[in-house]
């Protein structure tokens, strides 16, 4: 354990050794929005919950705006990658395989041993590494590749979200995962389009249905490369803001939050009125380049 090992012969870099977990291939942003990966669950001898994941780094052509293809590097075929969900104190084990032509790692935010930090143990093409740690503390965390040049490995799409639930669960709610990002399609060091969950203007064309009065919880993180900040603005409403998702008390009440790369927050709100309400970056440029969507609130 905790060694970079060569994958069995016959594993061709660029091709996944095994299919990603069902439902994760060719996901639309809407799937990322509501899909939580609890892993393969079992009990360790001491009674601790074990959650096992298989993460395969792949080279995948993804559509980042209608008709615009992007040669991405992905965890399990999508940008962002799967949303890892566990509870504080769970044992998390991630079998990482590198099926691309470049070395990669998984660097998870949170508390864990140095050998599980995804910095020194670079995983070359055709090799694997197993990350194992106890989920600690509870909160909302991003994960991403930490191979140099890091900027390239992030802008190519190797990132995702990890939710560590508190021991006392949060109030049940309509839960949504939103990862703010951008894509530099012409490789000039500037993003051409901005998205939530990987496709520009997706939630413009596919509004998210909500119910009047129902509690909505958004797990929001920013993995935008090249631009220093990104932001989220909610129309016709205010939300409770829990920065980093590490507390459930004393929220700030606002309708706009600004996050730098790697920052994240949990947002909670209920809609008072039915109708279509916009949400978008409150940087007009990002909004008009694809980071814009609607909540369709039904009575």
């Amino acid at each position: 354990m905790a060694h970079v090992t060569e994958l069995a012969p016959g594993v061709v870099p660029g091709l996944p050794r095994q299919a990603p977990a069902p439902g994760w291939a060719a996901r639309a942003p809407a799937e990322i929005l509501t899909a939580f990966d609890y892993g393969r669950v079992s009990q360790l001898p001491g009674g601790q919950t074990l959650r096992e994941y298989t993460f395969i780094a792949q080279e995948t052509e993804i559509e980042v705006a209608k008709g615009v293809m992007f040669p991405a590097w992905t965890y399990n075929g999508s940008v962002p990658g799967p949303t890892i969900r566990c509870t504080e104190g769970d044992r998390v084990r991630i079998y990482f395989q590198n099926g691309t032509r470049h070395p990669h790692t998984i660097h998870l935010h949170g508390v864990h041993p140095a050998s599980m930090d995804g910095v020194f143990e670079q995983v070359p093409p055709g090799h694997s590494y197993t990350y194992e740690f106890d989920a600690d503390p509870w909160g909302l965390f991003p994960y991403h590749c930490h191979t140099m040049p890091i900027r390239k490995h992030i802008e190519k799409g190797l990132y995702g979200t990890m939710i560590v639930d508190p021991p006392t669960p949060r109030e049940p709610a309509h839960e949504l995962v939103m990862v703010m990002n951008g894509f530099d399609t012409d490789v000039d060091g500037e993003n051409e389009v901005y998205t939530v969950n990987g496709v520009a203007n997706y939630f413009n064309e596919h509004p998210i249905e909500l119910k009047v009065g129902a509690l909505v919880r958004v797990y929001l993180s920013n993995m935008t490369e090249f631009d220093p900040i990104n932001s989220f603005h909610l129309h016709g409403n205010m939300f409770k803001l829990y920065r980093s998702g590490t507390s459930t008390t004393n929220p700030e009440l606002t309708d706009t939050v600004m996050l730098c790369q790697g920052e994240r927050a949990v947002l909670e709100f209920r809609y008072k009125y039915p109708g279509k309400f916009m949400f978008h970056a409150h940087q007009s440029e990002f909004a008009e380049l694809g980071w814009m969507g609607f909540f369709d609130v039904k009575a």
Binding site: A65, K66, G67, V68, M69, F70, P71, F183, T185, D186, V187, D188, E192, V193, A200, N201, E285, E288, L289, G290
Partner: protein
């Protein structure tokens, strides 16, 4: 490759001693046995010539066919996919009340597909004719219902399916004129103001010039040459600048070379037929022919000038102010003067004067129309180059006209002073047309 014999002929037995295109072989050389297909007796030598001409072509066709079939195997996979080197040139933008139209041409090595259009950093809905897939050297027109603002910059960015971005910025957006009778008239008026009128004003010096003595006239002829040299250099620089905006497959610099050389050669032919044909008659006729040649050259140059003015006005880069008209008038009045100098000593008819002015100034109007309604970098480059070649050729004619047994009268201290004065005059009046 086939070995070659020392007399420069291939060993394939082509050609006859009598009609070989190479220098004749020594008479003692025996004729080669000919295995060429028999041609009809009447056209035997013609047939053999045709064969000589066609053989390399046939071999070339065979080579190309082989390469098309086996080339990929020979070269192996390309290190970079061709569409990664894609290039889309945004040729023109039109601004209409209902939005923006964009004309693109695919100047890269592979077909490209337009996927998204971004205007001033916003993704915008668009329509594209004939369709989003554009073959190599194909064109398409994109219509975008974008609420652009008069007088503000507009940047259009076209994103292709493989993520490449191509953009063009118009610094000051203004409604693109559509051909209408009133606009045609406006452009014509523009042409008259900057091209025709100044030339005729220059021609009004005719009575004065007639009374000048030979030395002064020679000075003025040299001055005319100076004016023309300045115009020519100016036009070449402008043509080369524009050549840089011509889509690369169309080789703008090559167009400049063709334009300059072509117009010089054509005008040389014309001058031989006019000036030299008049040589047997009188010096007066030769002088008139030269004046017409000068006005033709200046006319070609003014056509290019009109093109630039029309285009600049159409895309809103030119405010037609009184200052500008005054500047062009000052600049172009010297042209009318230059036309006069050859005929000064002989006189001419009013009709000829009117014709001379029309030849020099009239093309300005045509230029403003073409530039205003159907501008293209490619044609503008070519016409500017043609204009440049024309004025250089006229300078050459001037030098010839003033040449007698003692050499050219331009090549004297007085002449040199005249040339420099002419160039300086152009430089100074040009300051008004910045």
């Amino acid at each position: 490759m086939a070995a070659r014999s020392h007399d420069g002929r291939g060993d394939d037995g082509q050609g006859h001693a009598s009609d070989a295109p190479f220098p004749a072989r020594p008479p003692d050389a025996a004729p080669t046995s000919d295995t060429a297909p028999a041609a009809p007796a009447s056209g035997k030598s013609g047939g053999a010539l045709a064969l000589l001409a066609l053989l390399p072509v046939a071999l070339l066709v065979a080579l190309i066919s082989l390469f098309v079939v086996y080339g990929d195997e020979l070269l192996g996979p390309a290190p970079v996919p061709p569409d990664a080197l894609g290039k889309l040139d945004i040729e023109r933008l039109w601004f209409r009340p209902e939005g923006v139209a964009v004309q693109v041409v695919n100047t890269g090595p592979a077909p490209l597909t337009v996927a998204q259009v971004i205007v001033n950093d916003a993704l915008w809905e668009f329509a594209i004719e004939p369709g989003p897939a554009i073959p190599r050297l194909g064109r398409a027109t994109i219509g975008i219902a974008y609420p652009w603002l008069e007088g503000e910059p507009v940047t259009v960015k076209v994103l292709t399916a493989n993520g490449l971005a191509f953009l063009k910025t118009v610094p000051i957006a203004a409604t693109t004129p559509e051909p209408s009778s009133s606009l045609l008239l406006l452009f014509a008026l523009l042409g008259v103001l900057v091209g025709v009128l100044p030339v005729y004003l220059g021609l009004l010096w005719f009575p004065l010039v007639r009374r000048l003595d030979r030395a002064v006239l020679d000075f003025l002829l040299a001055l005319t040459a100076g004016l023309l040299i300045f115009l020519g250099v100016d036009a070449v620089v402008e043509a080369l600048e524009l050549a840089g905006r011509v889509p690369s497959p169309f080789r703008g610099i090559g167009l400049v070379a063709i334009g300059v050389a072509g117009s010089i050669l054509v005008l040389l032919g014309v001058s031989r037929r006019t000036i030299d044909a008049a040589a047997g008659r009188s010096e007066a006729e030769r002088a008139l022919a030269l004046s017409f040649l000068i006005s033709t050259g200046i006319g070609l140059h003014n056509f290019g000038e009109g093109l630039a003015i029309g285009a600049a006005y159409a895309v809103g880069e030119l405010a037609l102010g009184a200052f500008l008209v005054v500047g062009f008038t000052l600049h172009n009045i010297t042209e009318g003067f230059g036309i006069l100098t050859p005929i000064a000593r002989h006189g001419t008819t009013l009709k000829n004067l009117l014709l001379l002015g029309l030849a020099a100034g009239g093309p300005t109007i045509l230029g403003t129309w073409l530039g205003g309604f159907a501008y293209s970098d490619l044609w503008a480059t070519l016409f500017l180059a043609i204009g440049a070649g024309a004025v250089f050729q006229v300078v050459y004619e001037l030098a010839r006209l003033t040449t007698s047994k003692g050499g050219s009268r331009i090549a004297t201290p007085l002449g040199a002073a005249g040339v420099l004065t002419g160039m300086l005059l152009m430089y100074l009046t040009g300051l008004f047309v910045a």
